[in-house]
Protein backbone atom coordinates (compact mmCIF):
# COMPACT_ATOMS: atom_id res chain seq x y z
CA UNK A 1 0.00 0.00 0.00
CA UNK A 2 2.87 2.35 0.78
CA UNK A 3 4.40 1.50 -2.58
CA UNK A 4 1.10 2.40 -4.26
CA UNK A 5 0.74 5.69 -2.39
CA UNK A 6 4.35 6.59 -3.13
CA UNK A 7 3.99 5.77 -6.81
CA UNK A 8 0.77 7.80 -6.88
CA UNK A 9 2.71 10.77 -5.46
CA UNK A 10 4.89 10.80 -8.58
CA UNK A 11 1.92 10.86 -10.94
CA UNK A 12 1.28 14.55 -11.16
CA UNK A 13 -2.10 14.39 -12.85
CA UNK A 14 -3.48 11.97 -10.23
CA UNK A 15 -2.07 14.10 -7.42
CA UNK A 16 -3.76 17.13 -8.96
CA UNK A 17 -7.04 15.24 -9.03
CA UNK A 18 -6.63 14.56 -5.29
CA UNK A 19 -6.56 10.75 -5.59
CA UNK A 20 -5.66 8.61 -2.59
CA UNK A 21 -5.04 4.86 -2.15
CA UNK A 22 -7.25 3.42 0.60
CA UNK A 23 -6.07 -0.19 0.46
CA UNK A 24 -3.85 -2.37 -1.69
CA UNK A 25 -3.82 -6.18 -1.62
CA UNK A 26 -2.83 -8.84 -4.12
CA UNK A 27 -6.46 -9.22 -5.19
CA UNK A 28 -7.16 -5.53 -5.64
CA UNK A 29 -6.75 -1.89 -4.78
CA UNK A 30 -9.16 0.79 -3.56
CA UNK A 31 -8.70 4.38 -4.70
CA UNK A 32 -10.62 7.49 -3.62
CA UNK A 33 -11.36 10.59 -5.68
CA UNK A 34 -12.80 13.59 -3.79
CA UNK A 35 -15.66 15.70 -5.17
CA UNK A 36 -14.19 19.07 -6.03
CA UNK A 37 -15.69 22.10 -7.71
CA UNK A 38 -12.99 22.19 -10.39
CA UNK A 39 -13.73 18.56 -11.40
CA UNK A 40 -17.38 19.21 -12.19
CA UNK A 41 -18.58 18.26 -15.67
CA UNK A 42 -21.96 19.97 -15.74
CA UNK A 43 -21.96 23.35 -13.99
CA UNK A 44 -25.76 23.31 -13.79
CA UNK A 45 -25.93 20.09 -11.75
CA UNK A 46 -22.51 19.96 -10.04
CA UNK A 47 -22.00 16.33 -11.07
CA UNK A 48 -18.38 15.11 -11.27
CA UNK A 49 -17.07 14.86 -14.85
CA UNK A 50 -17.02 11.38 -16.40
CA UNK A 51 -13.44 12.08 -17.43
CA UNK A 52 -12.34 12.60 -13.81
CA UNK A 53 -13.98 9.28 -12.87
CA UNK A 54 -12.28 7.68 -15.86
CA UNK A 55 -8.87 9.04 -14.81
CA UNK A 56 -9.30 7.60 -11.32
CA UNK A 57 -10.36 4.22 -12.71
CA UNK A 58 -7.45 4.17 -15.16
CA UNK A 59 -5.07 4.90 -12.28
CA UNK A 60 -6.69 2.22 -10.11
CA UNK A 61 -6.46 -0.33 -12.96
CA UNK A 62 -2.74 0.27 -13.36
CA UNK A 63 -2.22 -0.14 -9.62
CA UNK A 64 -4.30 -3.35 -9.59
CA UNK A 65 -1.67 -4.73 -11.99
CA UNK A 66 1.16 -3.55 -9.75
CA UNK A 67 -0.51 -5.25 -6.76
CA UNK A 68 -0.94 -8.53 -8.62
CA UNK A 69 2.67 -8.45 -9.89
CA UNK A 70 4.21 -7.34 -6.57
CA UNK A 71 7.05 -7.74 -5.53
CA UNK A 72 8.05 -7.73 -9.19
CA UNK A 73 7.72 -4.51 -11.10
CA UNK A 74 6.56 -4.19 -14.68
CA UNK A 75 5.26 -1.42 -16.88
CA UNK A 76 1.71 -2.14 -18.03
CA UNK A 77 0.50 0.18 -20.79
CA UNK A 78 -3.27 0.16 -21.32
CA UNK A 79 -4.52 -1.58 -24.46
CA UNK A 80 -8.23 -0.98 -24.08
CA UNK A 81 -10.42 0.55 -21.37
CA UNK A 82 -14.18 0.71 -21.16
CA UNK A 83 -16.23 2.54 -18.56
CA UNK A 84 -20.00 2.29 -18.17
CA UNK A 85 -21.58 5.16 -16.25
CA UNK A 86 -24.51 3.52 -14.45
CA UNK A 87 -25.80 6.58 -12.67
CA UNK A 88 -24.56 10.06 -11.81
CA UNK A 89 -22.78 10.32 -8.44
CA UNK A 90 -24.31 12.77 -5.95
CA UNK A 91 -22.64 16.21 -6.12
CA UNK A 92 -20.45 16.80 -3.10
CA UNK A 93 -19.72 13.11 -2.51
CA UNK A 94 -16.35 11.41 -3.06
CA UNK A 95 -16.19 8.26 -5.17
CA UNK A 96 -14.25 5.08 -4.47
CA UNK A 97 -13.01 2.62 -7.07
CA UNK A 98 -12.14 -1.01 -6.45
CA UNK A 99 -9.92 -2.49 -9.17
CA UNK A 100 -8.84 -6.09 -9.40
CA UNK A 101 -6.59 -7.94 -11.83
CA UNK A 102 -8.62 -11.14 -12.29
CA UNK A 103 -6.44 -12.79 -14.91
CA UNK A 104 -2.72 -12.59 -15.61
CA UNK A 105 -1.25 -14.16 -18.76
CA UNK A 106 2.42 -13.95 -19.84
CA UNK A 107 1.66 -10.96 -22.07
CA UNK A 108 -1.67 -9.50 -21.01
CA UNK A 109 -3.51 -8.58 -17.80
CA UNK A 110 -7.29 -8.33 -17.41
CA UNK A 111 -8.77 -5.92 -14.88
CA UNK A 112 -12.31 -5.37 -13.59
CA UNK A 113 -13.29 -2.15 -11.83
CA UNK A 114 -16.29 -0.93 -9.86
CA UNK A 115 -16.88 2.60 -8.56
CA UNK A 116 -19.27 3.61 -5.77
CA UNK A 117 -20.14 6.75 -3.93
CA UNK A 118 -18.26 6.93 -0.64
CA UNK A 119 -20.32 5.22 2.05
CA UNK A 120 -22.48 3.40 -0.52
CA UNK A 121 -20.07 0.55 -1.17
CA UNK A 122 -22.77 -2.05 -0.53
CA UNK A 123 -25.19 -0.32 -2.89
CA UNK A 124 -25.51 0.37 -6.58
CA UNK A 125 -22.22 1.27 -8.28
CA UNK A 126 -21.98 4.58 -10.16
CA UNK A 127 -19.64 3.07 -12.78
CA UNK A 128 -18.11 -0.21 -13.86
CA UNK A 129 -15.04 -0.73 -16.02
CA UNK A 130 -13.16 -3.41 -17.90
CA UNK A 131 -9.60 -3.06 -19.12
CA UNK A 132 -6.70 -4.94 -20.69
CA UNK A 133 -3.01 -4.10 -20.38
CA UNK A 134 0.20 -5.42 -21.98
CA UNK A 135 3.06 -6.55 -19.75
CA UNK A 136 6.51 -5.08 -20.28
CA UNK A 137 9.10 -6.68 -18.06
CA UNK A 138 12.05 -4.64 -16.82
CA UNK A 139 15.64 -5.75 -16.21
CA UNK A 140 17.47 -4.71 -13.05
CA UNK A 141 18.48 -1.45 -14.67
CA UNK A 142 14.85 -0.61 -15.26
CA UNK A 143 15.04 -1.18 -19.01
CA UNK A 144 12.26 -2.93 -20.87
CA UNK A 145 13.27 -6.50 -21.77
CA UNK A 146 10.10 -7.77 -23.48
Amino acid sequence: MDVCNRSLETVRHSRNLGMEVLSAEEDGVRVRLPWREDLVGNPDTGVLHGGAIFAMMDQAGGMANSCRLYPNFEITPTIDFRVDHLHAPTPGKAVICHASCYRLTPNVTFVRLTTWEEGEEEGEPVATGLATYTRMKLDKNGRVVS
Binding site: R12, P43, F81
Partner: protein, 150 residues
Protein backbone atom coordinates in the same frame (compact mmCIF):
# COMPACT_ATOMS: atom_id res chain seq x y z
CA UNK B 1 -30.27 26.49 -17.01
CA UNK B 2 -30.50 25.32 -20.59
CA UNK B 3 -31.59 28.80 -21.63
CA UNK B 4 -28.19 30.33 -20.94
CA UNK B 5 -26.44 27.42 -22.64
CA UNK B 6 -28.75 27.66 -25.65
CA UNK B 7 -28.20 31.41 -25.87
CA UNK B 8 -24.44 30.90 -25.72
CA UNK B 9 -24.52 28.30 -28.52
CA UNK B 10 -26.64 30.58 -30.69
CA UNK B 11 -24.26 33.47 -30.04
CA UNK B 12 -21.31 31.25 -31.01
CA UNK B 13 -23.02 30.31 -34.27
CA UNK B 14 -23.69 33.96 -35.08
CA UNK B 15 -20.08 34.83 -34.31
CA UNK B 16 -21.15 36.96 -31.35
CA UNK B 17 -19.47 34.74 -28.77
CA UNK B 18 -16.32 32.72 -28.65
CA UNK B 19 -16.62 28.93 -28.87
CA UNK B 20 -14.00 28.81 -26.12
CA UNK B 21 -16.71 30.09 -23.72
CA UNK B 22 -18.50 26.77 -24.24
CA UNK B 23 -15.40 24.95 -23.00
CA UNK B 24 -14.71 27.36 -20.18
CA UNK B 25 -18.12 26.98 -18.58
CA UNK B 26 -17.13 23.40 -17.68
CA UNK B 27 -14.86 23.37 -14.59
CA UNK B 28 -13.19 20.06 -15.51
CA UNK B 29 -12.42 21.32 -19.04
CA UNK B 30 -10.66 24.30 -17.49
CA UNK B 31 -8.84 21.95 -15.10
CA UNK B 32 -7.38 20.09 -18.10
CA UNK B 33 -6.85 23.32 -20.06
CA UNK B 34 -8.85 22.35 -23.16
CA UNK B 35 -8.85 24.76 -26.11
CA UNK B 36 -10.83 24.84 -29.31
CA UNK B 37 -9.91 25.66 -32.88
CA UNK B 38 -12.76 26.55 -35.23
CA UNK B 39 -12.05 26.54 -38.95
CA UNK B 40 -15.20 27.23 -40.89
CA UNK B 41 -17.56 24.62 -39.49
CA UNK B 42 -14.76 22.26 -38.48
CA UNK B 43 -13.85 21.83 -34.85
CA UNK B 44 -10.48 20.68 -33.58
CA UNK B 45 -10.00 20.27 -29.85
CA UNK B 46 -6.61 20.98 -28.32
CA UNK B 47 -5.11 19.76 -25.07
CA UNK B 48 -2.05 22.01 -24.79
CA UNK B 49 1.11 20.50 -23.31
CA UNK B 50 0.66 21.01 -19.58
CA UNK B 51 2.70 19.59 -16.72
CA UNK B 52 -0.45 19.06 -14.68
CA UNK B 53 -1.59 16.34 -17.09
CA UNK B 54 1.54 14.20 -16.81
CA UNK B 55 0.98 10.58 -15.78
CA UNK B 56 4.43 9.08 -16.32
CA UNK B 57 7.17 11.37 -15.00
CA UNK B 58 10.07 9.33 -16.44
CA UNK B 59 9.10 9.30 -20.14
CA UNK B 60 7.46 11.87 -19.64
CA UNK B 61 4.00 10.99 -20.92
CA UNK B 62 0.49 12.30 -20.44
CA UNK B 63 -1.88 10.54 -18.06
CA UNK B 64 -4.16 8.15 -19.96
CA UNK B 65 -7.03 9.50 -17.91
CA UNK B 66 -6.30 13.09 -18.92
CA UNK B 67 -6.34 12.13 -22.60
CA UNK B 68 -9.58 10.17 -22.12
CA UNK B 69 -11.22 13.04 -20.21
CA UNK B 70 -10.16 15.45 -22.95
CA UNK B 71 -11.72 13.22 -25.62
CA UNK B 72 -14.94 12.74 -23.64
CA UNK B 73 -15.32 16.49 -23.14
CA UNK B 74 -14.56 17.09 -26.83
CA UNK B 75 -17.39 14.73 -27.77
CA UNK B 76 -19.81 16.43 -25.36
CA UNK B 77 -19.18 19.86 -26.88
CA UNK B 78 -19.29 18.45 -30.39
CA UNK B 79 -22.72 16.88 -29.76
CA UNK B 80 -24.02 20.04 -28.05
CA UNK B 81 -23.30 21.99 -31.22
CA UNK B 82 -25.11 19.40 -33.35
CA UNK B 83 -28.27 19.32 -31.23
CA UNK B 84 -31.31 21.36 -32.18
CA UNK B 85 -32.32 21.77 -28.54
CA UNK B 86 -29.01 21.74 -26.71
CA UNK B 87 -28.94 19.88 -23.42
CA UNK B 88 -25.73 18.61 -21.84
CA UNK B 89 -25.34 14.96 -23.00
CA UNK B 90 -24.75 12.36 -20.29
CA UNK B 91 -22.03 9.79 -20.88
CA UNK B 92 -23.42 6.25 -20.98
CA UNK B 93 -20.17 4.51 -21.83
CA UNK B 94 -16.72 5.42 -23.06
CA UNK B 95 -14.29 2.91 -24.62
CA UNK B 96 -10.75 3.86 -25.55
CA UNK B 97 -7.91 2.14 -27.40
CA UNK B 98 -4.42 3.34 -26.53
CA UNK B 99 -2.35 3.03 -29.72
CA UNK B 100 0.77 5.05 -28.95
CA UNK B 101 2.25 6.73 -25.90
CA UNK B 102 0.81 10.20 -25.35
CA UNK B 103 4.04 12.17 -25.19
CA UNK B 104 4.45 15.41 -23.29
CA UNK B 105 3.33 17.65 -26.12
CA UNK B 106 0.17 19.23 -27.54
CA UNK B 107 -2.64 16.78 -28.27
CA UNK B 108 -5.45 17.28 -30.79
CA UNK B 109 -8.82 15.59 -31.15
CA UNK B 110 -11.63 15.44 -33.66
CA UNK B 111 -15.07 13.88 -33.36
CA UNK B 112 -17.41 12.16 -35.76
CA UNK B 113 -21.01 11.43 -34.95
CA UNK B 114 -21.91 7.97 -36.19
CA UNK B 115 -25.55 8.45 -35.34
CA UNK B 116 -27.44 11.25 -33.62
CA UNK B 117 -30.74 9.80 -32.49
CA UNK B 118 -33.44 11.41 -30.38
CA UNK B 119 -32.20 9.74 -27.22
CA UNK B 120 -28.76 8.35 -27.99
CA UNK B 121 -25.70 9.71 -29.77
CA UNK B 122 -22.95 7.39 -31.02
CA UNK B 123 -19.64 9.19 -31.36
CA UNK B 124 -16.17 8.31 -32.56
CA UNK B 125 -13.25 10.38 -31.27
CA UNK B 126 -9.69 10.32 -32.51
CA UNK B 127 -6.70 12.02 -30.86
CA UNK B 128 -3.25 12.64 -32.30
CA UNK B 129 -0.04 14.53 -31.60
CA UNK B 130 2.29 14.43 -34.62
CA UNK B 131 -0.06 13.72 -37.47
CA UNK B 132 -3.80 13.19 -37.72
CA UNK B 133 -3.12 9.92 -39.61
CA UNK B 134 -1.21 8.55 -36.61
CA UNK B 135 -3.69 8.65 -33.74
CA UNK B 136 -2.40 8.06 -30.20
CA UNK B 137 -5.88 7.01 -29.05
CA UNK B 138 -9.25 6.29 -30.60
CA UNK B 139 -12.47 6.12 -28.64
CA UNK B 140 -16.09 5.18 -29.11
CA UNK B 141 -18.72 6.57 -26.80
CA UNK B 142 -22.49 6.68 -26.27
CA UNK B 143 -24.34 9.61 -24.77
CA UNK B 144 -27.86 10.01 -23.45
CA UNK B 145 -29.48 13.11 -24.95
CA UNK B 146 -32.96 12.99 -23.54
CA UNK B 147 -34.52 11.49 -20.43
CA UNK B 148 -37.97 11.46 -22.01
CA UNK B 149 -39.05 7.88 -22.16
CA UNK B 150 -41.29 7.75 -25.19
Amino acid sequence: MTDSLKALIEACRKGEANYQDLVDRVPYARFLGIELLVQGEELTFILPRNENNIGNPTLPALHGGAVAGFMEQAAIIFILLEMGEPKVPKTIDFTIDYLRAGLFRDTFAECRITRLGRRIANVHISAWQKRREEPITIARAHFLLSEENN
